[in-house]
């Protein structure tokens, strides 16, 4: 049995939920609020961050890079040509580059600030840094997202999926990040038709359904968040 420690609006934990579903791995979800610094959780992951995956009583698998490779190494054989990691070393490198782009660069410059300011700070007590969003931070993220949209637009226009011919981890890493920004109505879809068309294909996969059903108390999703034909 797999257990995933996650937060519903952690973009990288969303990425892991998507790929676990794509690999058909039944997983128990346990919500963790990293800012609470729960002692038993810090024993599992001293970095104190989600996502953390655990298989039965095995050791904790911490962070997206470790989890993504672990899922493919332990379950890749069972899904045949639906594996999300390509075979050739060059193609694997391209998939990993784009996952890194999503969970590090896109997250730091755009989605992390949106989620922290607009979601986490509402949930956190003021002693842990909660409070009103910082408008300067939101403004910077709203500027930065255009560069990323242009780059994803270029990839979506020149390739079948973001990292090449085949659906890969890269598509889910980028889609998971964008899904958090989309809930908050922060994705300028009209700017990039190719990104929109690519996201519509990803969003209609069964693995995406649980994410589209997530709700933040008192903060409804943007009008098109659940809409497959947005």
């Amino acid at each position: 049995m797999l257990t995933l420690f996650h937060h519903p609006f952690s973009p990288s934990a969303r990425f892991v939920r998507l790929i676990l579903a794509e690999y058909g791995a039944k997983t128990e979800l346990q919500v963790e609020r990293p800012w609470e610094r729960r002692r038993d959780f810090l024993l599992l992951n001293p970095a104190g961050t989600v996502p953390v995956l655990r298989e039965n009583d095995g050791p904790a698998i911490c962070g997206v890079f470790a989890i993504m490779e672990y899922i493919d190494e332990t379950r890749g054989y069972a899904v045949g040509n639906r594996r999300l990691m390509p075979d050739h070393p060059d193609a694997r490198a391209e998939t990993r580059r784009l996952v890194d782009w999503a969970v590090a660069k896109l997250d730091q410059e755009v989605v992390g600030p949106f989620v922290r300011e607009r979601v986490y700070k509402q949930e956190m007590p003021s002693s842990a840094g909660g409070g009103a969003p910082d408008s300067a931070v939101l403004r910077a993220a709203r500027t930065n997202i255009h560069h990323h949209m242009r780059y994803f637009g270029y990839l979506a226009a020149t390739r079948n999926w973001l990292s090449g011919d085949r659906l890969s981890f890269a598509d889910f890493a980028v889609a998971a990040e964008l899904s958090c920004a989309d809930y908050l109505g922060e994705v300028p879809w009209a700017e990039e038709d190719n990104v929109k068309a690519w996201y519509a294909r990803i969003k209609s996969r069964p693995s995406f359904r649980p994410l589209l059903a997530e709700k933040i108390l008192g903060m409804p999703p943007s009008p098109t968040y659940e809409d497959l034909d947005f």
Copy 2:
């Protein structure tokens, strides 16, 4: 032929230089100053960051995660039991967790700020953000390093190498980061004997020699930087 685009004081590029040497992969080094945003380099890696590895006329392999796995996938068979990635999925996950800790957490909280404030800002023109170091940033990094030293001390005291019984990518990722801070005299070695003893073992490997010979013009290394018996 392999070509590595690097900066001598980029901690993650140092990590790649170490592991290329450990795998016996002859590599041509090309210095890149990421803040110059050189057009041909941005075509190789649109993120504009080092390290980037290229094999002959093949595609660019960008970033430590992609490069580390690529080296092991393409050269692991040739080095036998000197591979730096363990075989078992659990042990691989632990190695990847600690590489992530080094190149993301340790770099963001400690080594990145030291290098940016004390090295890069001396090399950069003021139009690119160069200038005097920000003492508040240095103070924060000097506070943060103690937590990391304690954690590495715990690992070094309970394991033969940082991620387990065998030398792995994790040891080189952490050592590469610490080597940059050590050049600047910013590592409180006296606090953690176990970390010091572990670093002395890593530092005496032939792969480390080129790093110990690096010099910044006008800024000599700390007195013990090159000393194997520090």
